[in-house]
Symmetry: C2
Amino acid sequence: MRRFKSLLEGVERKKNSRIILALDVVAENRKKIFSRSIQILDEVCEYICALKINHHLVLPLGLFNGVKRILDRAKDLELPAIMDCKANDVGSTNRIIAENYFKAGFDAIIANPFVGWEDGLQPIFEVAEKMGRGVILLVYMSHRSAWEGYGQKIYDENTGSIKPQYVVFAEKALAWKADGAIVGATYPEKISEVHAILGKDVPIYSPGVGVQGGDLERAILAGAHYLIIGRSIVEVKEPAEAARRLRDASNKIINSIDCGMNLGS
Amino acid sequence: MRRFKSLLEGVERKKNSRIILALDVVAENRKKIFSRSIQILDEVCEYICALKINHHLVLPLGLFNGVKRILDRAKDLELPAIMDCKANDVGSTNRIIAENYFKAGFDAIIANPFVGWEDGLQPIFEVAEKMGRGVILLVYMSHRSAWEGYGQKIYDENTGSIKPQYVVFAEKALAWKADGAIVGATYPEKISEVHAILGKDVPIYSPGVGVQGGDLERAILAGAHYLIIGRSIVEVKEPAEAARRLRDASNKIINSIDCGMNLGS
């Protein structure tokens, strides 16, 4: 189960980067979406440790047509690829989803723990284990109404206790041995709380820096390990320059923490 | 917003069927998945009122390649098509998801209300309204661990009240003016509770009859309006015969209810 986690850690060390590119390219037609995706990937590959793909590419290009060619390119560049499908279906369909994305070349997929384990996410973890891939769970998303679901309070009838939904999800990420947990950079206080539960066992992947309003420094200081960044790289004039700046800025913060820890020890 | 609801009601009356075919075809390669899908669709079209497609087809065939051709065939057969993508992303991605599926020809998509409204599902409802399509919300799924998420108890800090998650979702389906609500046929008691909240405003679509263990009669008596049926039609030797039998069986139960109501009035 830990093969994906080790793979990503290896690339992270080699590239000295914890930036994951969210390749969410929007363009007027399929040909332009494809060529722009390849162009950005080639330009920024030096500054990132992984690639995340969403429906922006899968729906217009097709998984085994355009997306597979982008994944092949990522393989050439030695970049792991994550599919952000937020799987939340019944078990038999989740199995089909996982098998297809892994077969096309994805190294990990993102799933929603809300669906539950038995006949829910269990088949995804089984397929991932069998094929040596990873599963990353949503714990707190980055958008404005994330409070409605991820922030709601769950009452446990057996114990009488009340817990936030994201704490329940973080506990499931630990229990189910997920390879990572998503917590939005727009909610650094949630990152801190989730990090306190997960420790180093399940690294936090944090989207939402930049256009969505999340702050790089606050997210890292709160415990985010990987930063998932899309529009701030993809939709600017010079993606490579933006990616380099984000990598350098994040490394500076990470080094200051490590340095502080060394001084303190 | 009600265009999809009226469209489906029209087909339902014309075909005298409330059976929705879940075209979840599994085969060894893409060519066979495509040809088998078209074959089943042609064979059962007389007995169903709509078609539901999931990742079983979208991932191997591609949305604008194989799936669009199946949707074109459904259009020829005058069958509305629903995409079961269980959308649960941030607003900007949800917009891309809805635009792509509707552009390819889907009449409605299924979304998860867990994601919330603002910068969550709102863009999906906006795109649907603009393009005259429908949105169906998940309220209680059909699988074994549905209790983990859909059945959990939500504590409201403002009022001190405790409500099941599916009641919160049913209330959102009403407030957001959804075109339908999904409640698993495997949980007829949940169908009754949700039906008591939704009345006739939001029809209940019920998957899980047959292979998953749901009972047709209990689901309809509890308040399910449409029955979503996949494996019991798709994976048998004679799909047309199976679809006809399911249509007749459901109509018999529906007529007995109508008859009972007339006698009672």
